[in-house]
């Protein structure tokens, strides 16, 4: 797990006037499920296309398994891609689609036949050999695209928003399928998506990107629970992001009220951003919590209620399984370890983290 399989070194890429990647550095370990997550235009797809060989970086090197592959054409790289809109060969049957890469490598008929059978079984589409791609549903086409890629036994599978065109239910099913595939095949996955839920569900490591810069790298839990800046906090899940002052270690002043917290090392009376997840806020009777307020909105979301609480001139987003009707006087309580403190952006580079709405 510790082997660096892929290493992006100082990659830069510009289209016309627009800088997509600027001195981008990232490594991917063997057997890792790594997800590049970010809004459109953040450079995640460009990164994947550079690794696939469909784009050439303006500067920097791509190292794959110890070798520099920056100038290698796509057909010479030991990796395969699953494209966003399947990109199946519509003039070929399913079997011919899957056999494409193997025929080019001059594998024997028997080997190809066995591989097709194996791949179709793996993606739960046995018996589809002689169908045409157009006669399959979107989810089935996507699974064929995956089968077509994995029969070549790549060391890395690149997936470019592969579930983007599918509906919600199918997307969730495919997420489990992908995790299962990853475990069965034991290969490295590089996954690109703008969907935070997909990223959290499947990844070993998430790389949050914005405007060509990496915002945070970490496990799904780290990214969700300890976002390093306001962009990450806002992009991953819903959150209350509030300007605050770090009074001293373990004490932060939010909206004029002191909250005990667990963070240290920000200095004294330093401006910071705090993130409080809506599900981490407890609503108590007035006077029992830290800030009193009144419920202004209430929506039933199925698993929980979503409420907005007006307190100290801030609309707090609260998720709770308890229901408080609009107009109820409540008090907000947050446990110290549920308050995440983040540094305010200072330099221009860090401005890239500013939330785009």
């Amino acid at each position: 797990m510790s082997n660096k399989l892929i290493d992006f070194q100082n990659i830069s890429k510009t289209y016309g006037m627009q800088t997509v990647l600027d001195d981008f550095n990232l490594y991917i370990r063997e057997n890792e499920f790594l997800t590049l997550l970010g809004p459109s235009g953040c450079g995640k797809t460009t990164t994947l296309r550079i690794l696939g060989g469909f784009e050439t970086p303006d500067a920097g090197r791509v190292i794959f398994d110890g070798k520099d592959i920056t100038d290698l054409p796509p057909n010479k790289r030991q990796l395969n891609t699953v494209f966003q809109k399947y990109a199946l060969f519509t003039h070929m049957t399913i079997a011919e689609n899957i056999a494409f890469g193997l025929k080019i490598k001059n594998k024997s008929k028997q080997y190809i036949h066995d591989k097709i059978k194996y791949a179709l079984k793996l993606v739960n589409l046995d018996g589809y050999e002689n169908r045409m791609p157009d006669s399959l549903s979107g989810g089935q086409q996507q699974r064929i695209a995956i089968a077509r890629a994995i029969v070549n036994e790549p060391k890395v599978l690149l997936l470019d928003e592969p579930l983007g065109a599918l509906d919600l239910k199918l997307r969730q099913d495919m997420q489990y399928e992908l995790i299962r595939l990853k475990n069965e095949l034991g290969i490295t996955f590089l996954y690109v998506t703008h969907d935070q839920e997909e990223a959290l569900t499947m990844s070993d490591t998430i790389v949050v990107m914005n405007q060509g810069y990496i915002q945070q790298i970490g496990t799904p839990e780290m990214i969700y629970n300890e976002p390093e800046n306001a962009f990450v906090a806002d992009f991953i899940g819903e959150s209350n992001i509030i300007s605050a002052t770090m009074v001293e270690d373990r004490l932060v002043k939010i909206l004029g009220v002191n909250f005990p917290c667990v963070d240290e090392g920000f200095g004294q009376n330093k401006p910071v951003d705090v993130v409080i997840r809506p599900e981490d806020i407890d609503l108590l009777k007035p006077g029992e919590g830290s800030i009193d307020g009144v419920v202004t909105h209430l929506i039933f979301k199925g698993v929980h209620y979503e409420m907005e609480v007006m307190a100290n001139n801030y609309e707090w987003l609260v998720h709770s399984t308890d229901m408080f009707p609009v107009g109820t006087q409540v008090s907000i309580h947050v446990d110290p370890f549920d308050i995440q403190i983040m540094k305010k952006p200072e330099s221009e580079d860090e401005e890239a983290v500013n939330i785009e709405e």
Partner: protein
Amino acid sequence: MKSKRLLAGPYLFWSVSFVIIPLLVIVYYAFTSDGGTFTLANLSQITTPENLKALGISLLLSFISTLVCLILAYPLAMILSQKQVNQTSFIVLIFILPMWMNFLLRTMAWQTLLEKNGVINSILGFLHLPALEIINTPYAIILGMVYNFLPFMVLPIYNVLIKIDPNVLNAARDLGANPVQTFLKVTFPLSIPGVISGITMVFVPALTTFVISDLLGGGKILLIGNVIEQSFKQNSNWHVGSGLSLVLMIFIIASMALVAKYDKGEGGTAF
């Protein structure tokens, strides 16, 4: 429903009066003699040595022209389809521009260019190069056909090529195909519907033309189109003209069916 059907009325009227009736008239003339009695003699006119020769030359020249058009058009369509949109529209315009000029005029212009003492030979003479003597030969006719019909080959192929998702070609590269393999196994098979449309749109007018052979062949080379034209205009024998037209139609349908047979079920392109 009824009012919608009424809307189709004008088109129905149009196709009945200007397509179906004329076709029936041709069939009638083809199967009758001057006296109005049934005969197959008009159809069998095609078997006379002169007419067979004209048909043979027509088929040969149209085949060569179509092939030359295809060879010239495909790379051009590929280059166009890979360009940025604003560049493309300019190049496409250059190709379509001559089509806005009258077909006769363009062909007559070639006549002037190719003449024994025409523009090209004057320039060649000035440069002390041997004169080009292709006017009134089959080569001039092929040149005229290719020149006039090339856009009809470029456009359908271009239209098919720009619709191919670039990621499909990327996928082929990704799966290990080099650029040549990608072209042979993916690009070309996917473009076959356009190629077939192009072949149809070049081969049919080339097979039936009489203007190009008249102007550039100097009346020395008779194509089947010329023979039909002559039987209508010079000999005023509508029966033989119709008979030969009908035979030609059968040839066209047969050759198109042959082409369509190799187009594996892509459907709705040429036929």
